[in-house]
Symmetry: C2
Subunit: 306 residues, 2 copies
């Protein structure tokens, strides 16, 4: 069991407001930090939400608009002021490397840790022991990637009573069964499914970036537990959503519903909406489980029910 | 009479804290905005302090460390989102132009206004009708400029009764006298000093940037009404001040006192100090009139007494 939590570090579109900072979403998974976008001021939200600057960190940038990346500069600077030594990986569209290289050169961060900057393509972005992150092209006025964090399926719960009953001695053979391998006891073979419950699904979190509600995101987010989706506008400004290549809350709900997402989180709100009740209500007419993100909001992500 | 106000948009050194954003000082003079440094998050403080994004704007950068310039990116982006048309001038050390050009290229701000970026040298930086801004080299780990905003001396108050008494007819000749020019009435010459009170001194605000307390800043700030000075450390960390090329609050007071500044404002506090009482107390043992800046603090600057 690994604790998985989403913390919203900024939920405003394009410009900050009194209540909302620029877009950044932290996914804290065990001792690791996965950041999706890094709008200006996100380091201050990290301080306020006590996430800390020394976790293993990977940053995924959806697109190279300033309101989604400028916060990276302060983050890298603060990590260096803190004498961080652990490497940081940044993933993003073409331009991310040139941008960071130029800033490191002009602003003399004095980086105290290795910084690896990687250009993203669609498909598998990282392939870790317990999870992967995938990217798909979203549809915006700049090259934008939606991301999907997908935990690997874990073997089922081990039942020691069943193993004992089948005569498997405690120790190495139990561990082998728990890892999904058959073992031999005398001349009898014991298979994992005899001592394990059903395989346990991992959790999936989809993050749309700035995007129109295109059908390929339905495929990409299929089966996600949570989808966090561009909800810049309300129905009354639907034509602006089309014009500026964003989505309405209702459009976000249409994608999340079609993808079968359990929970839809609306974010990236236009500064014109002081309150988001109307957006939640519009999305709720399509999807049964909708919440609006707000700055510093935390959501713990449970394992899916078997 | 032009209203002159200092608004502190961020008062933390190097890294933000729960209570303090990164360094930026707004000087609002009439309808014009002079910004000194632009730390990350300063645009949000501008929103909170209702300064507005459409004033005539000049930005003076003291040095090219990220905690003093990154906020410029969000500022320029937000001004563009607001469809600003008025030009913006940025003044700063070598590197400011390359940095902004690289960011405009990579982040595609879509600037809606002319942006003029100027490299500063010591001496006169801008020469406006009602004021000048001068720069002097401060002493820090990067090329850093201290700035001095200096309003021009205005002619004394015009006494219409005296002009009438001397037989000067109301109208163009009064205006000429008010501008400090002699006029001829019949075969008699009337001099400005016969109808004007004493010349009225303008106001002077000195801003140190990050610096050691070097004697040349005493000369530079001589006669300033207000000096805003690097006060990163308390006495107990004086060796850190020397090591990191900053000043203690006491050192700031020593410079301000020697320069004859009426008021010293401490700012740019190390994140280790949650409260600044001790720094104020240390500075107050040297200078009679000390306040500590805090985020969103406003100080109106009165004209000096004649």
């Amino acid at each position: 069991m690994v604790r998985l939590e989403i913390v919203f570090l900024g939920t405003s579109s394009s410009v900050p407001t009194v209540k909302r900072g620029l877009t950044s979403i932290a996914v804290v998974r065990g001792g690791e930090l996965l950041l999706f976008d890094a709008g200006e001021g996100m380091q201050r939200s990290m301080i306020l939400s006590r996430i800390g600057f020394n976790k293993e960190t990977k940053v995924f940038v959806t697109h190279m608009h300033s309101d989604h990346v400028v916060g990276l500069l302060g983050l890298l600077q603060t990590m260096s002021m803190n004498q961080r030594e652990k490497q940081v990986h940044v993933y993003g569209p073409k331009g991310i490397r040139g941008f960071l290289e130029a800033c490191v050169r002009y602003l003399k961060f004095g980086l105290t840790f290795p910084l690896y900057v990687n250009t993203v393509k669609t498909g598998l972005v990282i392939d870790e022991k317990e999870y992967v992150v995938r990217a798909a092209l979203a549809e915006h006025s700049a090259t934008t990637y939606a991301y999907l964090l997908e935990e690997r399926t874990r073997p089922g719960v081990f039942h020691p009573d069943k193993a004992a009953e089948l005569g498997v001695p405690k120790g190495e053979l139990w561990a082998k069964l728990q890892r999904g391998k058959s073992v031999k006891v005398g001349d009898k073979v014991v298979k994992p499914r005899q001592v394990l419950g059903p395989a346990r699904m991992g959790r999936r979190i989809g993050i749309s970036g700035d995007t129109r509600p295109v059908p390929r995101l339905v495929r990409f987010f299929r089966g996600a537990d949570i989808v966090v989706f561009d909800s810049t506008y309300s129905d009354q400004h639907a034509e602006k959503a089309a014009e500026n290549m964003h989505s309405t809350a209702r459009e976000a709900a249409t994608i999340a519903k079609a993808a079968g997402a359990r929970l839809l989180i609306l974010t990236h709100f236009s500064a014109r909406y002081e309150e988001t009740d109307r957006l939640v209500s519009e999305a709720s007419s399509v999807h049964p489980n909708v919440v609006a993100a707000s700055d510093l909001m935390r959501i713990e992500v449970p394992y899916p029910k078997q």
